[in-house]
């Protein structure tokens, strides 16, 4: 086959009428741009969700007090009667629970010798680090004795450490949280953006200290519940069904809170990993929708290409006749027009990729979401464009190849 000949005549035909070529490409451009944006959003979301699930832990359950209605007004999540340390102990004694911790948290002002930083102060038990799968990078965790004794020690998240001690060397230094002095004994490894709770919350911006000390000296006690905790986190043993664990924890807690059968729970047992997966499913739906848009515009673009190629074949019937008269075979003519369609679509694909790339970065800026433009995405987008050219260019090209030489020559 005369590939070189086909490409040069294809390029010539396209550039002889650039405006028409550009308009023909429009559908392909839009199609490829949406393929690109769609795949980038999809891959970015997937990577983000995987990272979140691994940081939250797939078999961690969180118990939160339910919403309280006061005078018909909903007081918001966690406003109901809190749990207490006895609940934590009961939960941790369940056979399938590997570790459990109560948590109390509050925004508070932390001060070091150099800096002043508002951070999320969390009080936790000795199981806190295991449940949250959170390793100490420098220094050490607080021990069970320190938790019991209410020792004034703190472990800093990466962000809090960086802001309180810009020069480094935090371990061994002293900080004051709401005027309560405590000693920094460790720095945690980075967890990144939050998965379960609020979007975009920096989980590393935290100061973690023994639960009883935080309750006694920072958050203060609860009017109705002594030794309260605002939530309980528990780690289900590997191999145990998390859904079953969720049910058992629920029924035990209903008993402890004396909820009558038939009455609603006044607390919730949440699996954050599960919630993330549901959000992932929503993202999947979104990218399916985009994929559909991309497919439709590629098909519409392909029909446009086919249309313009048919026009082109008719316009150039005499030229086709001449080429046949001087020895072009049907296959040569077929290849020439097929190439023209493929080059048209691939060029449209390249332009679409450029626009898609801009779209990807714009989206990443606006939504503050991670985007991924991998070689696979580029290959898919270009491949889709070229395939559209092959599929929709074939019919016009075959029509050109099957022209009768003498009738084509006489055409005007």
């Amino acid at each position: 086959m005369k590939v070189g000949l086909a490409t040069s005549s294809a390029a010539e035909a396209l550039f002889s009428n650039p405006l028409r070529s550009l308009l023909t490409m429009l559908g392909i451009i839009i199609g490829v741009a949406s393929v690109m944006v769609m795949m980038s959003i999809g891959e970015g979301a997937k990577a983000q969700i995987e990272a979140q699930i691994s940081s939250v832990g797939a078999n961690v359950l969180t118990l939160q007090p339910g919403n309280m209605n006061r005078g018909g007004r909903n007081q918001g999540g966690g406003s109901g009667r809190p749990f207490n340390e006895a609940d934590v102990t009961a939960v941790s004694e369940l056979p399938f629970v590997q570790a459990a911790t109560g948590v109390l948290s509050q925004q508070a002002n932390a001060v070091s010798e150099d800096a002043n930083w508002v951070s999320n102060i969390q009080g936790g038990g000795a199981g806190f680090f295991e449940v949250n799968n959170w390793k100490v990078e420098e220094g050490r965790e607080f021990s069970a004795q320190e938790v019991q004794g209410g020792a004034a020690v703190a472990v800093l998240g990466k962000t809090a450490a960086a802001n309180l001690f810009p020069a480094g060397g935090a371990v061994g230094q002293r900080i004051r949280v709401n005027s309560v002095p405590m000693e920094v004994i460790g720095i945690l490894e980075s967890k990144g953006q939050s998965g379960g709770g609020g979007m975009g919350m920096d989980r590393d911006d935290t100061v973690i200290a023994p639960l009883s000390m935080v309750r006694n000296r920072i958050t203060g006690g609860n009017r109705w519940v002594s030794r309260h905790v605002s939530r309980i986190q528990l780690l289900v043993q590997d191999g145990y069904d998390v859904l079953e664990a969720q049910e058992e924890v629920t029924s035990m807690m209903r008993e402890r809170r004396r909820i009558q059968p038939g009455d609603q729970d006044n607390f919730a047992v949440v699996n954050f990993a599960d919630m993330i997966k549901q959000r992932a499913a929503a993202a999947e739906t979104m990218s399916m929708l985009l994929a559909f848009t991309a497919a439709v515009s590629l098909i519409v673009g392909g029909v446009g290409v086919m249309n313009i190629m048919l026009v082109s074949v008719t316009e150039r019937t005499r030229e086709i006749g001449l080429r046949m008269a001087i020895g072009a075979r049907g296959g040569d003519i077929l290849l020439q027009f097929l190439f023209e369609a493929v080059v048209l679509c691939t060029l449209g694909g390249l332009i679409g990729m450029g626009i898609g790339w801009i779209g990807v970065f714009a989206y990443a800026q606006i939504a503050a979401a991670p985007m991924m433009v991998s070689p696979i995405i580029i290959a898919t987008a270009l491949g889709a464009a070229a395939s559209v050219g092959l599929i929709f260019g074939f019919f016009p090209a075959r029509r050109a190849a099957q022209l009768d030489p003498i009738q084509a020559l006489r055409h005007d």
């Binding site: 070189g4 010539e12 001087i326 020895g327 075979r329 049907g330 003498i406």
Partner: protein, 242 residues
């Protein structure tokens, strides 16, 4: 089988007919034509429009197939050939010159002449050198980068002749080659064809102008799809030069 006289004819037609169907009417454009043309001849085919001369040209040029009858080009029967084999025959053995030149408007003279070389299946050698050689042969060595629009009618027809010569054809088929040219240019073009004929290329020219036919050594007159007369002209007109 074609006649075997001294040499085998390069073009041979036996009982050749071509019938066109126009609605429910049948038009017999060619009606049982027998014709032999030998290598090295310069033949003018004449006749009024509708006499069948163009139909014969299309058949000899392997652009069309006969309704009945058989023909041989260069000893090969065309009826046995596939579409691709006919394309290769047109590419290798035949050279076409048309009344309207039929040059590709967006390509320059050089690219136009290169085209049949690029379609060649057999090794065409140095394509660029051959295209240059052909353009020099027709006297356009200095205008190779001109597009058809930038050339006069006579020059365009010279480019077309150069293109027809590119693959060293054995037969040059010209359909009213001077129909769009003035008298002086006509003389130049016909002189060029005589030159080529002297170099051994068989030339078949279709024309309805007797002045053009004067340049040929054999004149065949067509009427109503049949040969009316077939005469040798040993005293053919010598072109005045070009």
């Amino acid at each position: 089988m074609p006649d075997m006289t001294e040499t085998r004819p390069i073009i041979s037609c036996r009982n050749l007919s071509r019938v066109y169907r126009m609605g429910d009417q049948e038009v017999r454009a060619l009606d049982g034509v027998d014709l032999d043309i030998h290598a090295g001849e310069f033949v003018a085919i004449m006749g009024p429009s509708g006499s069948g001369k163009s139909s014969l040209m299309n058949l000899i040029g392997a652009l069309d197939r006969p309704t009945s009858g058989e023909m041989w080009i260069n000893g090969k029967a065309l009826s046995d050939m596939s579409r691709d084999e006919l394309a290769d025959l047109r590419n290798e053995t035949l050279g076409f010159v048309f009344q309207q030149f039929n040059l590709l408007p967006r390509q320059d003279a050089f690219q136009n002449v290169r085209l049949p070389l690029r379609y060649a299946r057999k090794d065409a050698g140095d394509i660029d050198a051959r295209a240059r050689e052909c353009l020099e042969l027709v006297g356009l060595g200095t205008r190779m980068d001109h597009r058809p629009m930038q050339l006069s009618g006579g020059q365009q027809q010279r480019v077309a002749i150069a293109r027809a010569l590119a693959n060293r054809p054995r037969i040059l088929l010209a359909d009213e080659p001077t129909g769009a040219l003035d008298t002086k240019t006509t003389d130049e073009i016909m002189h060029l064809m005589q030159d080529l004929n002297r170099q051994g290329i068989t030339v078949v020219v279709i024309t309805h102008e007797s002045e053009v036919a004067q340049y040929a050594s054999r004149q065949i007159h067509f009427r109503d799809g049949r040969i009316e007369s077939d005469t040798a002209h040993p005293e053919f007109k010598r072109a005045s030069g070009g």
